[in-house]
C-alpha cells in the first residue's frame, strides 16, 4: 500500500462506483462507463498541466483559458482556412501563452500563480477581442475532432485514442526521463538542483510551454466532446483540474505526486458529479455532500498510505 499509493486510490474509486450502483441500480453498464471515461478525459488532460507544474511547486491557472482559446480558434477559423491550418494556429496560440508563462517564471521569477493568473486574464481579453471579428463567420467543428469526442469504438470512447498514448507518455516522461526527474528536483529543493548543475530557467521555460501545448490539445479534444465553440468552454474545468491533481496526491508545494494519481482523481470527481446529478436533493445539499465526499476520500487515502 505504501509503495503503491495508486492501489488504495483505485479501491476508493471502485467503492464510489459501488455506492453509485446501489443508489441507482443498473446504471453501471457499458454506456455509462464509456460516458464517464469520456467526461474524465479532458479533465485528466487539463489536470496534467496542473500536475506537472505542481511538481515544481508551480501551478497553471491559465490552462482552462488556453484550452478554451485553442477550441474557439479552431472552430472559428476552420470554415475560413480549413481544418489543419486552423488547428495549427490554435496550437500556436496555446504554445505562445505557455511560453509567456515560461518566460515570466523562468527569467523574471514571477510566482507561477500570479504569472498564469495574469496570462489567463490577458488571454481572456485577447479571446474576447478576437471573437468580435468572427461573430458572423460561422463555426465548424472539425469532423475528426467530432469523431474523437463523440464517437465510440468497441463500446469505448474514441477519445482514448488520444488519451492513452498521452497518459502513457506523461507517466513515462515523469518517471523515466531526465526532464521528469528535474521537475521533482526543482519542486523538492530548487537550490539543490541548481547546485547539481540544473539550469532551472530551462526547465521552467520548457515546462510552461509544454503545459500550454497540453492545454491546447485538451481544448481540441473538448471541442470535439462538447461540440460548441463557447467563449467559456473549458473555464469550468480550471478548479476541478486542480482538484483532480490534489485529490490524486500531488502536492502544490512541489516534489511529490504523479500523473497516475491525477487520472484516478479525475475519474473520482467525474463519478462524484454523476452521483450528485442523480441525487434528488436541494442543490445546497448536493454541494455539501460533494465537498464532504472529496474530503472523506482524501482522508481515507492518506490514512491508507501513511507510514507512521
Amino acid at each position: 500500500m505504501v509503495d503503491w499509493p495508486l492501489i488504495p486510490l483505485t479501491l476508493l474509486l471502485f467503492a464510489l462506483i459501488g455506492a453509485l450502483e446501489i443508489m441507482q441500480p443498473g446504471i453501471v453498464k457499458a454506456f455509462w462507463i464509456s460516458n464517464t471515461i469520456k467526461a474524465a478525459i479532458p479533465l485528466a488532460m487539463l489536470a496534467a498541466c496542473q500536475t506537472l507544474t505542481m511538481l515544481t511547486g508551480g501551478i497553471d491557472l491559465s490552462a482552462g483559458t488556453v484550452a478554451t482559446i485553442a477550441a474557439f480558434v479552431t472552430a472559428t477559423l476552420a470554415p475560413l482556412i480549413g481544418v489543419p491550418p486552423a488547428i495549427a494556429i490554435a496550437m500556436t496560440c496555446a504554445l505562445a501563452a505557455g511560453l509567456v508563462n515560461g518566460v515570466g517564471v523562468a527569467f523574471f521569477r514571477v510566482h507561477p500563480l500570479i504569472m498564469t493568473l495574469g496570462t489567463g486574464l490577458i488571454a481572456t481579453g485577447c479571446l474576447l477581442v478576437y471573437q468580435r471579428f468572427v461573430i458572423s463567420t460561422g463555426t465548424l467543428i472539425p469532423p475528426s475532432l467530432v469523431w474523437l469526442g463523440t464517437g465510440r469504438s468497441f463500446g469505448l470512447p474514441n477519445a482514448l485514442v488520444v488519451f492513452l498514448p498521452f497518459a502513457a507518455l506523461v507517466i513515462w516522461a515523469q518517471r523515466r526521463t531526465g526532464f521528469g526527474r528535474l521537475l521533482y528536483a526543482i519542486g523538492a529543493n530548487e537550490a539543490a538542483a541548481r547546485l547539481s548543475g540544473v539550469r532551472v530557467w530551462q526547465v521552467h521555460l520548457a515546462l510552461y510551454a509544454l503545459s500550454g501545448l497540453i492545454a491546447g490539445l485538451t481544448g481540441l479534444v473538448y471541442l470535439g466532446i462538447v461540440k460548441t465553440a463557447s467563449l467559456s468552454l473549458a473555464l469550468p474545468l480550471d478548479l476541478p483540474s486542480v482538484a483532480a491533481a490534489v485529490v490524486g496526491g500531488t502536492s502544490i508545494f512541489g516534489g511529490r505526486g504523479g500523473y497516475g494519481g491525477t487520472i484516478i482523481g479525475a475519474l473520482i470527481l467525474t463519478v462524484l458529479a454523476t452521483m450528485l446529478t442523480l441525487l434528488q436533493m436541494p442543490e445546497g445539499g448536493r454541494r455539501i455532500l460533494f465537498g464532504a465526499i472529496i474530503l472523506a476520500v482524501t482522508a481515507l487515502f492518506i490514512r491508507l498510505t501513511d507510514r507512521t
Binding site: L61, G104, F108, R109, V110, H111, L113, I114, M115, L117, G118, T119, G120, L121, I122, A123, T124, G125, C126, L128, V129, R132, R194, R199, L239, V242, A243, V246, V247, S251, I252, F253, P282, E283, G284, G285, R286, R287, I288, L289, F290, G291, A292, I294, L295, T298, A299, I302, D306
Partner: protein, 332 residues
C-alpha cells in the same frame, strides 16, 4: 532604521505605486476627489477583508480556498437574519455572524489538523460545503441589512483639525470605509501580532517542525489561524451585505483576487514571510487600476488585458529588483 526600510521595501514600493496611481487618476479625471476616494474605499472593503484573512493563513503556511464561500455564508446569514430586525437585534445578528465566521474557520482548521489532509484539499472540499450551506440559507439573492450598518461605510469623516463650518466637500476626505477597515483590521490583528499567537503563526508557516520543537502547539495554532481567516471572511461577507443591502448565495470573485493580492503584497506562498499592509495596499492598487480603466473608457476586453499585464509587471519588476540584489554576489 535602514533594516526596517529594507525589510519593508516591497510595501514602500506598493505605497509609492498607489500614490502614483492616485496622481494619474487625478490627471485623468480632474474632478476626482472625496467622493471618488469614498467609492474606491467602499469597493476595496470586501477585498481588503478577504485579503487580510487569506494573508493570515498564508503567513501561517496554509491557504484557504473556501474564503469566498465563507463570505457568502456570512452574507446570506446576515441578510436573512436582519430582515425585519430592530437595531438592537441587528447588533446581535452582527455578533452571531462574526462567531459563525470564527466557527467556520475553526472547522476548516480542525479538519486539516485532524484528517492530516493537505490544507488545499480540505479547503477546496469546504469550498463546496460552504457554498452548499449558503444556498440552503438563501437560494436566491435576498434579505436585508440594518440601515445603520449600511450608513457605516457611506461618506467621509472630517479630518481632525479642520475648522468647523467648512462645506463637507472640503473636509470629508477620509472615507468612512477606510476608517472601518482600519479599525477592524487593527482591532483583530494588532493584539494577535503583539501577542505570542502572531509569532506562532509566523513560526508554523516558516518551519512547522522547528516550531513544534520550539514548543509551539502546531495544531492549535493552525486552527487559530484558520479561525482568524474565518472571522475576516465573515467581516468581508458583512461588508458585501453592507454595500449591497442584501445577501448573495453565489460567492463573489474574492478567492483569486485575495490570493493575487496576498502574493502581490509580498506575502510568500508557503508561509512565514510578509505582513498585512502590503496585501492591503495591493488591493487598493488593483481597485484603482480598474477605476482608471473605466475612467479612460478603455474597451472592456482590453481592460482585462491591461489588468493582467499590470499584475504581472508589478511582480516582474519586484522579481527583477530582487534578482539584481542577488546578482551582486550570487551567480545565475
Amino acid at each position: 532604521m535602514k533594516r526596517l526600510i529594507e525589510a519593508n521595501a516591497w510595501t514602500v514600493g506598493l505605497a509609492a505605486l498607489l500614490a502614483l496611481l492616485l496622481i494619474v487618476t487625478k490627471l485623468i479625471q480632474p474632478e476626482f476627489g472625496a467622493s471618488g476616494l469614498d467609492s474606491l474605499a467602499r469597493a476595496a472593503l470586501p477585498f481588503v477583508l478577504a485579503t487580510v484573512g487569506m494573508a493570515v493563513v498564508v503567513i501561517a503556511g496554509g491557504i484557504d480556498l473556501s474564503i469566498a464561500a465563507m463570505m457568502a455564508v456570512a452574507s446570506v446569514t446576515a441578510a436573512r437574519l436582519m430582515e425585519g430586525a430592530t437595531d438592537p437585534q441587528s447588533v446581535l445578528v452582527l455578533i452571531t455572524v462574526l462567531v459563525l465566521g470564527l466557527a467556520m474557520g475553526a472547522i476548516n482548521g480542525a479538519l486539516i489538523v485532524v484528517t492530516r489532509v493537505p490544507d488545499i484539499v480540505v479547503t477546496l472540499a469546504m469550498l463546496f460545503v460552504w457554498q452548499g450551506v449558503a444556498l440552503l440559507i438563501l437560494n436566491a439573492p435576498g434579505g436585508a441589512t440594518a440601515p445603520w450598518l449600511r450608513n457605516l461605510i457611506v461618506g467621509g469623516v472630517t479630518l481632525p483639525g479642520f475648522p468647523p463650518g467648512l462645506p463637507p466637500s472640503l473636509t470629508d476626505w477620509i472615507p468612512k470605509a477606510v476608517v472601518v477597515m482600519a479599525i477592524v483590521v487593527t482591532a483583530v490583528w494588532l493584539p494577535i501580532k503583539r501577542s505570542k499567537l502572531g509569532l506562532m503563526f509566523y513560526a508554523i508557516g516558516s518551519d512547522p517542525l522547528a516550531a513544534f520543537r520550539s514548543g509551539v502547539p502546531v495544531g492549535l495554532t493552525r486552527v487559530a489561524a484558520y479561525a482568524v481567516c474565518g472571522l475576516f471572511a465573515a467581516l468581508g461577507g458583512l461588508a458585501v451585505t453592507m454595500s449591497t443591502g442584501i445577501g448573495e448565495p453565489i460567492p463573489g470573485p474574492y478567492l483569486l483576487a485575495s490570493v493575487a493580492a496576498v502574493v502581490l503584497g509580498g506575502v510568500v506562498l508557503g508561509g512565514g514571510r510578509g505582513g498585512l499592509l502590503g496585501p492591503i495596499l495591493a488591493v487598493f492598487v488593483l481597485r484603482l487600476v480598474r477605476m482608471d480603466l473605466t475612467l479612460m473608457s478603455v474597451d472592456p476586453n482590453v481592460a482585462a488585458i491591461v489588468e493582467g499585464t499590470i499584475m504581472v509587471l508589478v511582480v516582474m519588476f519586484g522579481g527583477l529588483l530582487a534578482l539584481r540584489g542577488a546578482r551582486l554576489d550570487r551567480t545565475g
